[in-house]
Symmetry: C2
């Protein structure tokens, strides 16, 4: 039974670690940078622009630890009006993002497609409940029909 | 050793279930409703408005399974300009949200504080990677200084 107890103890520790892995990173909410980018795109290049933006957003979140979220959308009634919610761990993470190959590729290859660009710094109204606010989305499996 | 194996098997199943609990809900990305609300608030009532909105957002995400995310922000350089990113499981979830006591309280108590209101339906550019996009935020512990 001693051996059994040791095995069980090891498993409990493993279980805790596996589930706690997710909570190990700590962010300071006062340092976080929230940005809403408002981008007007030339309709001629819309599909190409969307493809490039999608690739760049995915790569940024996957490769850069300081890029917490990049969530690009377009207005349904005005599909050339792009809005991107961007969340960075801090200003340094944002500045380092601007130096990445994937951001530079996006920037140079879409330069002639973008007709207007506004970068608006935002402040979340409820800083502390931010993880809860997006929790459900992470816990949900999204299926396409 | 037989008993040990059985215990270990039970623990492995328990471990898997604990970690899979998070992925049990399934959403259809084609039914999801993404909304950007653009709200201009009378500066006289700004603090009161923010308090009411914060309460309503928190209650909506906590109490309504179909409210996936409500993320309220304001523009740093123009704090009376509120932007809310709202994500609902489907149109029914949105309509049911409008009938909740917390939404009705928000709506009636802020009616005289709101100077402008635009409800803009959005389409996410990368529907399938949505959970990944917000994953980091959920996995991060946010601390205030």
């Amino acid at each position: 039974m001693k051996l059994l107890s040791i095995f069980l103890a090891i498993f409990v520790i493993f279980l805790e670690n596996s589930c706690n892995d997710m909570k190990q990173k700590v962010l300071n909410s006062d340092e976080m940078m929230i940005r809403m980018s408002e981008i007007g795109v030339d309709s001629v290049y819309l599909n190409e622009y969307l493809r490039i933006l999608k690739e760049e957003s995915e790569a940024s979140v996957r490769l850069e630890p300081g890029v917490i979220s990049i969530y690009p959308m377009f207005q349904k009634e005005n599909p050339t009006e792009i809005r991107i919610l961007e969340i960075y761990a801090n200003k340094k993470a944002y500045e380092s993002h601007l130096q990445t190959p994937h951001f530079k590729t996006y920037k140079t290859s879409t330069l002639n497609m973008v007709k207007s660009l506004k970068l608006i710094d935002m402040e979340p109204i409820d800083k502390n409940s931010m993880p809860n606010i997006f929790k459900k989305l992470d816990q949900t499996e999204i299926q396409k029909k």
